[in-house]
Symmetry: C2
Subunit: 258 residues, 2 copies
Amino acid sequence: MKIVIIGSGNVATILAEKLFANNIFIAQIIARNLDTGKALSQKTHAQYTDNYEDIEKDADVYLICVQDDFLPEVAGKLEKVLPKKSLVVHTTGSASIKVLEYISSQYGVLYPLQSLRKENESVQEIPFFLDASTPEALEKLQLLAKNISSNIAFANDEQRIRLHIAAVFVSNFPNYLYSIADSFCEQHGIDFKFLLPLMEETVNRLHHFSPKEIQTGPAARGDISTIKKHETILQKENPEILDIYSFLTEKILNSRTD
Amino acid sequence: MKIVIIGSGNVATILAEKLFANNIFIAQIIARNLDTGKALSQKTHAQYTDNYEDIEKDADVYLICVQDDFLPEVAGKLEKVLPKKSLVVHTTGSASIKVLEYISSQYGVLYPLQSLRKENESVQEIPFFLDASTPEALEKLQLLAKNISSNIAFANDEQRIRLHIAAVFVSNFPNYLYSIADSFCEQHGIDFKFLLPLMEETVNRLHHFSPKEIQTGPAARGDISTIKKHETILQKENPEILDIYSFLTEKILNSRTD
């Protein structure tokens, strides 16, 4: 298989490195950003260009790894230069597969349900959700995905954007709460690393229990006196995070009577 | 060592089982709740009573595993029945060590920084934070804690309640967000289990990166068009969680310009 990757950000980097590590030929990286584009092309032994006129015309898959906002622009450029039967694929959770339909008859989505940052190459398992315009396109995409993951499923536009919303709730939002706790610990001379076993346990037990049945903490047990103590401290020392504490505490308190 | 445990809830159960599994002699469980008290005493080969008059007078440690709210009441009862040199210990993050001072000259805290639910006996690592009124009490507590954990540190009242606040942010709040995502997935026919690798990765990478430097998602990259798409769907289908999505998204957007 011969792949062309459009983009050089987090998703482009992690996917390109995974593919390269599994002996998939990455012919070309097309990216506006010269520095990250060249860096990625060197790491994956690919050509680099920022000019769509120079695109390789005979790749098996064109993998678009750019933000939703830039998808229409990239699609417009690809439409001008690609043969009409090229397999063109985007990788975002919240854009329709249809943004690619006027480029080619063969198009699809390869959505990695994982938090990808180029600094963190060690990410183990990436579940992929596929969609495609034709059975042939789907088959080719499956072949590609199987090289870099054993966790592959199908999701159409409606399912994929809902997966993305769920991902925001279970990853982006918790990570933001971790960053608040990290700053709070640093300010109070506490080693944030002490919290890691707790964080790991909170996730690990979800293999066996639903999060609702295993909720703990002062709000879950209606322990108002502890909540008041916490709020008094935050009011005095960290008023900037008091509203987050109170907002989520109130939500958990209310969910008890659901 | 001979231990008496007061309580039969989540913390009492997990600690009693860990101690029992490590061959520490649990002489007695004192608990108001007949069912859970008897169940725990059977599991740990201990006596059961709900009457403080019947307390074993010569235990090495009296481990109070009740909610903050009940601590003063339990302390009042123990003060009437225990010898004045008994080592009395509570296990909560947000109550002062001082709630025990009028029972005995030997008192302390053994705070498990972990989310403990009796359903989930498999919890691996429990970091413990100790405090004690005397060096002798501290030594005895360390000896006890070493039997069930290799991750032991010291924390006074001020440090412990701040650890508890941090724990709420990294465990109770994320678990609540998981429960929202779980309901959302169920409603939309998505298998919640697909999200587990993402949740695990979000925590695992914190061994190597700070949460702030590794934040991902539409809010972190200022991707307003994706945020609007998500909010439109939630508005229509899940208005009950739209305010949480918007509240935390706004927080992350604002944190970008910090």
